[in-house]
């Protein structure tokens, strides 16, 4: 069985991309394999760990659960799009300074979840931070320094103005 595969248009980190793949291929796999963007990770394949988190049309989603057909025409933001040229995003700076990354495998998804949180809620309470990150599992940090990083980033000038 080999019908012609659909052409899927994506805008990934501001750049147009077109892929021709089986429509049930996961957005996660399209990002990693077709587009070579390996920053987004697979930790579970079940939408539980959040290491595949990306933003799709501004909404945080688990890319392991999105069939690529449903991303046709979508604007996708991944960890690779956070830093602009050589300038780290405030959250990336905060994760470095506060120790929010240990082994680093949950970090891309965690950064996307944190970006999403701060975009909707520039001065989140601890409870709101915990809820915003509840879908991203980290086995190394116990989350404490991730919370510290989000609080630090929120306080940094520019984090609240991040339109993306």
């Amino acid at each position: 069985m080999s019908p012609a595969w659909p052409h899927i248009q994506l805008i990934v980190n501001g750049q147009s991309a077109m892929v021709e793949t089986p429509p049930m291929k996961r957005l996660l796999d399209v990002l990693r394999e077709d587009l070579g963007l390996t920053g987004t990770k697979e930790g579970c394949g079940e939408g539980e760990c959040g290491s595949c988190s990306v933003r799709m049309n501004g909404e945080l989603v688990n890319s392991c659960l999105v069939p690529i057909l449903q991303a046709d025409g979508a604007r996708i933001e991944t960890v690779e799009g956070l830093a602009i040229d050589a300038e780290l995003h405030p959250l990336q700076k905060a994760f470095l300074e506060c120790g929010g990354a240990q082994c680093g495998i949950c970090t891309p998804g965690m950064l996307m979840a944190a970006t999403h949180l701060l975009a909707h809620n520039p001065r989140p309470s601890m409870e709101e931070i915990r809820e915003g990150l509840a879908g991203n599992l980290c086995r190394c940090t116990g989350f404490i320094k991730i919370f510290d990083s989000v609080i630090a980033a929120a306080a940094m000038k520019g984090a609240a103005h991040d339109a993306r």
């Binding site: 760990c49 506060c98 120790g99 240990q102 809820e131 940090t141 116990g142 404490i144």
Partner: protein
Amino acid sequence: MSPTPQTRIVGTPQIRKEGVDKVLGRAKYVDDLEREGMWYGATVRSTIPRGRIRQIHYDPRIDWHEFVIVSAADIPGKNHIQMIAADQACLADDAVNHCNEAIILIAHPDKRCLPDAAAAIRIDYDPLPPVLSIEESETQQQIVWGEDNIFKQFHLEKGNVDEAWAKAAHIVEGEYRTGAQEHLYIENNGAIAEYSEADGITVWGSLQCPFYVHKSLMAVFDLPAEKVRVIQVETGGAFGGKEDYPSIIASHAGLLARKAGRPIKIVYDRMEDLAATTKRHPSRTRHRTAVDKDGKLLAMEIEIATDGGAYSTLSSTVLSRATLHSTGPYVCPNIRITSKAWATNTVPSGAFRGFGAPQSIFAIERHMEQIARAVGVDSAEIRRRNFLHDGDTTATEQVMVEPVILDTLLERALKESGYHARRKQFALDNPHSPIKRGMGIAAFYHGSGFTGSGERYLNSLAGIDVTQQGKVRVLVSSTEFGQGTNTILTQIAAESLGVGYDDVIMAPSDTNIVPNSGPTVASRTSMVVGHLIERSGHQLIAMLQAEAALPDGYTAGDFFGACERYRELHDKVESLCRYEAPPNIYWDDQKYRGEAYPAFAWAVYVAEVAVDTTTYSAEVKNFCTVQEVGRVLNPTLAAGQIEGGVAQGIGYALYEKVLLKNGRMFNNQMTNYIMPTAQDVPPISVVFEGIPFNYGAYGAKGIGELPHDGPAPAILNAIQDATGENFTSIPLLPEDIFLRMTTNINVEEPLAV
């Protein structure tokens, strides 16, 4: 307490060395890597816990010509994984001893074809009755390993236990159980292998110990050392789960690569990793303790049993550490410990942060609570009365020559947690609330480095070199997997050389490039390997002063200039040092007596819990840690280790359960193997008291495993404080609390079943 020497870089919160790549998403883990012409591999595993393979059927609906298929017959060297022993097959050939044991390997260019193909290989077995628990193994009705199902046993005696019972004011008994635990690193196991007759085998892997894998591959492929190359790539969490297991997956990828004549990548998905790879040893510990009327320990009789699964892997050393940590941080003149590691037909148990200590510390710290109650003394006081102090001897007759400050740690922990005031408040509030609150203490130590003569046996070699591009490189086989190896070792090198933190990089974790500084385990990296780097730095400075006119008060520029002068004389600029045992470390492996560890990290943890009697759920509301780990090399990383270890310990106590049916894990998904989320972890406070250890890098002792030892007993002690119930088994789930707290169910009520 000796003053901390002033340092520029060690002791400061330097940014994680590889951190920028991690936050950019540029760090490359195994599944991010490709090799040209690479195919993908998958593993066909046994579906029964014990039996013999009768026949293997390949369903003709698959075109098997598209696949490379490997069985035990394809192994050029030995069909075993070389660990401490060599009892585990690389691929099961005839006997199968656990569910999900690897039997057949397949490879294909399109990884999406693999699951269907693997399912199309059907294996017929002649099943044998499996042994599925410690108790079943102990009956020795079925012998599933060796002569008697016992991987290892220890017997340790101090003083005269038998005479002590008659003198006791109280004799307290208890039995404590801990369950299996899964590491749940967010990156699953994976490896890429290439093989050629000319060059031998190269493996890129997610792993902790490149030289362990190296040794194992030599045996499987019958290759000399120089034809085996192991490269650790960025590793997404390990916790001991990638100490021994990678030797297996590396061998598998290598066998496929050899037969296929092309690179092979094997990466497990979560279901496979959960069901097929190592777990923490389940344990059962029995205590019988004699105390005087004041609660002072007179005698301890301890019996430990661990479940090692189907093959020995690291069961002997896990048992050793469990044995040596089973008496707690207390003085006791008469001790008897018998411990055994038992074989069962379950997935082999392996290393996991703490390595036997969490199991036996759970037991002793729960048992101290029962002793406190028997004597009528509170939880803090019972410990105070029995703590080790300077000059006391341990169970192995090791004299505490390094300072022991447990009293200070206890007082600090009680203060930080508000222990007395909060317990007073809870006593007032609990009777009027469905939420019962309580506090619990755990006091413990963790021996740093390998036990006894282990470090001498490892004979680690490590050091530094200087590149022509003007960078110092740290040369170690110690790996980074989140705990901070790269950062602290480069900090140490920079400090000892007098150069900047950014002047120092890590050499690749490649067995072709780095010396064998031993495995990245046992909380030894800071203390042992770091010390080798510190010494290598001083050694290099001495070499440059002697032969390259390095001036006094040199700058970094002077340093690198001198290195170039030295290079002209010697072609390379390299300084290596070999392990030297601290003085007066003597260990008798036969009698299990002497200096068990060169140094100990000490801690007192306090848990505050809330038990909701509506749902029978227990939650940790606050967690306070106070520890003494020698010199803190990097405060951010050190606190991160404590916080992460505590979170894992909370999971171990209250959430993480491995469910087995006929020896097969059936909750092998993240949706039903439950670890704490961001909404489940309490605030965790971290306090370091420091007593520098002269034989550790800049005074550092081990830290990585310590924080997983204390949480479980502290939490269950708190639950006993809150509810009065003595729970002796973990994981403790609401369903267990429910059964205990509702034993007075009204018999007239219908039981909905």
